[in-house]
Amino acid sequence: MTIVIPTVDTGHSTALGYVIIYTQISTTMQIIILLIAISLILAIGFLIGFFWAVRSGQYDDDYTPSIRMLFDDEETNSKINK
């Protein structure tokens, strides 16, 4: 069993090698591959966002905010009553 590594003509850099392979495959696959690359980058962004949310304590309490949002706006309310 040999380990397959994408190789192109020697003399090119590896990055360029990928570009050459990329141009050789079908258009449909090209699009899928491109989308996957973009989605991976996007998803890393979301993952960092999630870690930040956990770190900043947004998951510590998942009940109180549901009550808090039901409070009347107290400033305007007290004016009406006066």
């Binding site: 994408p6 696959m29 870690f51 998951y59 107290e74 309310n77 009553n81």
Partner: protein, 804 residues
């Protein structure tokens, strides 16, 4: 609620707390208040322009009742210890406020900054009954903060329990793991997708393969860390648990995939692998999301005070109790708890050992006598020399005693361990047979079959069935105010065949001592004076009188003295008052079964209070109901048999009276020796040893934040009548679990058939494994929800988060 005016509230209800104002109505701004505490809070709110509170929450506030002395917070060293985070000027503290019970509490506590400039922000965690307060230490110190909170009815509770940090860290790390596993799972699946779609192997896929390995590595090493540790445990200690077959499956899945990708044979099973870890973590999260407002893991440290007055070279100062050394001289004031075993030097206080022994009889003290940790000082103060530091005192040793240390591990998880033990052997057996069957035909195929079997038979479904079936069961029960410590409790509940009740708090209504007064009619001034006198005594009857009279004004009492077990006396406004038993006041005893407390004013007898501990009538039916299928017993610390209870327990085990905590523990121990699986139902204080020793300890809770170190189940007072339903529920959850096992076996059977034929493809695994997991999750949810609806009465639906 814009048109809400004070007049919409009925005249006799307190404007602040909504309790009916008896005869002690206090008027202010044309509003009525039931006591001075409530009036004060109203004034504070009015001064700070916060009266809109009453528009939003008419009559829902907390009654300001307590009277804790926060002097120890003046000591900067102690205050420092309590503050969670501090920079130069700004400090953050998380305070435990057990009074939090409704949305009004959140409203008022999150407007603390209106009361004092120094408070920058405050945020309530409703379920944990905690409030995080950020304040400027130059403008307000912890002492003033605690007093402010106490004034508005939320006196914070301080204790040295520092386990909450750990819990938080755990839940956070689990969240990280779920996030990471979910991310990797999704992306690996996307990367696998092109391979499933197009048949010829494209060179690009190899790169994708490396990317997948890169994504799968953190799943194995971080998210799945606990399972790898289980495998290590097995290698070191030969422990077989459900985690071991999971670890085998995980490692096989990962290494075969990496091998396939690197050698270019195939695309690997990394999507199944990550998805599988992700689902397991979700199951874990589901199971371990417990009720943070009920502390099952509290120990003696939460019972002790946080600090005590110690004699220093230049007078008395507060010292944290863990700093105490033998030979230190400490002063414990009225109503405080002695933190360590000491020798009495001076003082007139008496000691109430009810927490340690269960007797509510006060013990008088003499100089040079040894007094023990856990005793509450009543009616005075004591000065004492420390004999043992806190960690070595007798009470602490009791907690460190065998009973409390011995975990219920042996009995725990019995079913699942039993299954997984055989499971491991059977799966490895099948895998090896498959391997040797294929070996002469095709070596590659033989390895393929070996790994396929280990992958497909991985007990993912088995591991998920318990968190989802039992975890959901526990959640449903919490809606009926029955709180189980963990899923293992549900297992042990199924084995129960013997139930022992403790009398106090379970069969009798502790909170509702029925008090009646016979004699002259009492005017307000007299009531105030009697209340003031009774406040100085911690005796349950005195407390009951205070509760009964509901009087607000304090009168100064001089020459107060308490005669343990007899009565109290003191001088107020130059009048001499005495209050106590028949013998104490009249000098003789008559033959009445109901206890009475006579009141004497300058030698004249004004009348008497009579007290009756009410039996919970509804418990009679419960006992009748349980009698048919369980052996019932009763223990009580009371010396005298209660005829009505004896009647309730007719044809059961003979009720046991005059039982010390040790006797109760021994009784449970005997039952276990006889081969029973006993359940103990008690109030959690003097019967904690018995509760801990029993297979399932049920604590009946009157106050949410009670001290329940030994409990497996905490039920609210009114939920105790659901005990028969709870036991039936436990039986049914077992049957549902077996149903889950059948589903797991079916899926594994299908998977094994393909695996043994060497037909397992990555796509097949990627569909079958999540499908089986989802089936079990859905099954667990629906069957438990249906079961809950069938077993529990329907009209109690709105119980869990009701306002009052």
């Amino acid at each position: 609620m814009n048109n809400n005016t004070p007049h919409t509230i009925s005249k006799t209800a307190c404007y602040h707390c909504g309790e009916p104002c008896n005869n002690t109505e206090i008027q202010l701004d044309e509003l009525s208040f039931c006591c001075h505490g409530c009036k004060t809070v109203y004034q504070i709110l009015a001064d700070n322009n916060l009266t809109s509170f009453y528009d939003q929450f008419p009559g829902q506030a907390v009654q300001a009742k307590q009277n804790t002395n926060y002097d120890f917070l003046k000591n900067t060293a102690i205050a420092r210890q309590l503050i969670d985070f501090q920079t130069d000027n700004i400090a953050t503290i998380i305070l435990e406020l057990p009074q939090i019970h409704c949305s009004a509490c959140i409203w008022i506590l999150e407007r603390l900054f209106r009361f004092d400039d120094g408070i920058l922000s405050s945020k309530v965690n409703y379920l944990k009954k905690e409030c995080t307060i950020v304040f400027d230490i130059n403008k307000i110190d912890l002492f003033s903060l605690a007093n402010l909170l106490q004034q508005i009815g939320y006196g914070p509770e301080f204790n040295l329990n520092n386990s909450k940090e750990e819990k938080k860290r755990f839940s956070k790390s689990n969240n990280y793991k779920i996030g990471l596993a979910g991310f990797c799972f999704g992306n690996i699946m996307l990367l696998s997708f092109p391979e499933y779609m197009s048949s010829p192997h494209q060179p690009m896929f190899t790169t994708f393969g490396y990317l997948k390995i890169l994504l799968a590595l953190p799943v194995l090493l971080y998210a799945g860390k606990d399972y790898l540790l289980a495998a290590k445990q097995f290698l070191l200690k030969r422990n077989i648990g459900i985690d071991l077959p999971i670890a085998i499956g995980m490692i096989t899945l990962f290494s075969r995939s990496v091998f396939e990708i690197l050698s270019g044979i195939g695309e690997g099973y990394l999507d199944s692998f990550a998805g599988f870890v992700f689902l397991l973590l979700i199951g874990k999260w589901f199971q371990e999301k417990t009720y943070s407002n009920i502390a099952f893991d509290r120990d003696y440290t939460s019972f002790f005070p946080i600090s005590v007055l110690r004699k220093e070279a230049d007078g008395w100062d507060f010292t944290a109790i863990d700093q105490l050394k033998s030979g230190d001289i400490i002063r414990v004031r009225n109503e405080e708890i002695l933190p360590c075993d000491s020798k009495l030097l001076a003082g007139n206080g008496r000691i109430d050992y009810s927490f340690v022994t269960g007797e509510s009889k006060l013990q008088s003290t003499t100089i040079h006598q040894n007094i023990f940790a856990g005793g509450k000082i009543v009616g005075g103060f004591v000065e004492a020399e420390v004999i043992h530091p806190v960690a070595q005192s007798r009470l602490t040793q009791l907690w460190n005693d065998d009973v409390f240390q011995k975990s219920k591990d042996i009995k725990e998880k019995s079913i699942i361990d039993f299954i997984s033990k055989y499971f491991v052997f059977i799966i490895i057996g099948i895998a090896v047979i498959g391997f040797f069957y294929w070996l002469p035909i095709d070596i590659g195929m033989a390895f393929n079959v070996l790994t396929s079997v280990l992958i497909i038979a991985c007990p993912c479904v088995l591991a998920l069935s318990i968190p989802f079936i039992y975890g959901n069961g526990i959640r449903q029960l919490s809606k009926w105010n029955i709180f189980l410590k963990n899923t293992d409790t549900l297992f042990r509940l199924q084995e129960i065949d013997n139930i022992v009740f403790d009398k106090t708090g379970t069969l009798t209504d502790h909170s509702k001592m029925q008090v009646t007064f016979s004699g002259i009619s009492l005017d307000d001034q007299t009531k105030n004076q009697i209340t003031s006198l009774c406040r100085l005594s911690a005796h349950p009857l005195s407390q009951a009188i205070v509760e009964f009279l509901k009087s607000g004004d304090e009168v100064e009492v001089n020459n107060f003295s308490e005669f343990p077990g007899q009565g109290i006396q003191g001088t107020m406004d130059n009048n001499f008052w005495r209050l106590g038993s028949e013998k104490f006041i009249l000098g003789h005893t008559s033959q009445t079964s109901i206890s009475r407390s006579y009141i004497e004013f300058n030698g004249d007898i004004l009348g008497y209070f009579s007290f009756e501990q009410k039996l919970k009538g509804e418990m009679k039916n419960i006992i009748e109901n349980l009698k048919t299928s369980y052996i019932l017993g009763m223990t009580s610390g009371d010396p005298i048999p209660h005829p009505e209870i004896d009647q309730w327990f007719a044809k059961c085990e003979k009720p046991l009276y005059n039982q010390s905590p040790q006797d109760k523990l021994r009784h449970i121990d005997n039952l276990i020796q006889q081969g029973y699986s006993p359940m103990m139902v008690g109030d959690g204080l003097n019967d904690s040893g018995a509760l801990k020793q029993s297979n399932v300890g049920v604590v009946v809770n009157h106050r949410q934040n009670n001290f329940t170190p030994a409990a497996d189940i905490v039920v609210n007072d009114e939920a105790l009548i659901l005990l028969p339903q709870l036991l039936e529920y436990a039986q049914w959850t077992r049957r549902i679990l077996y149903g889950g096992f059948v589903i797991a076996a079916l899926y594994n059977g299908i998977g094994l058939y393909f695996a043994l034929k060497g037909l397992l493809s990555p796509l097949f695994a990627a569909v079958l494994m999540p499908l089986s997991s989802i089936t079990i999750v859905v099954y667990g949810f629906f069957s438990i929800n249906i079961l809950t609806q069938i077993i529990f009465p329907k009209n109690r639906n709105d119980h869990s988060h009701s306002n009052r």
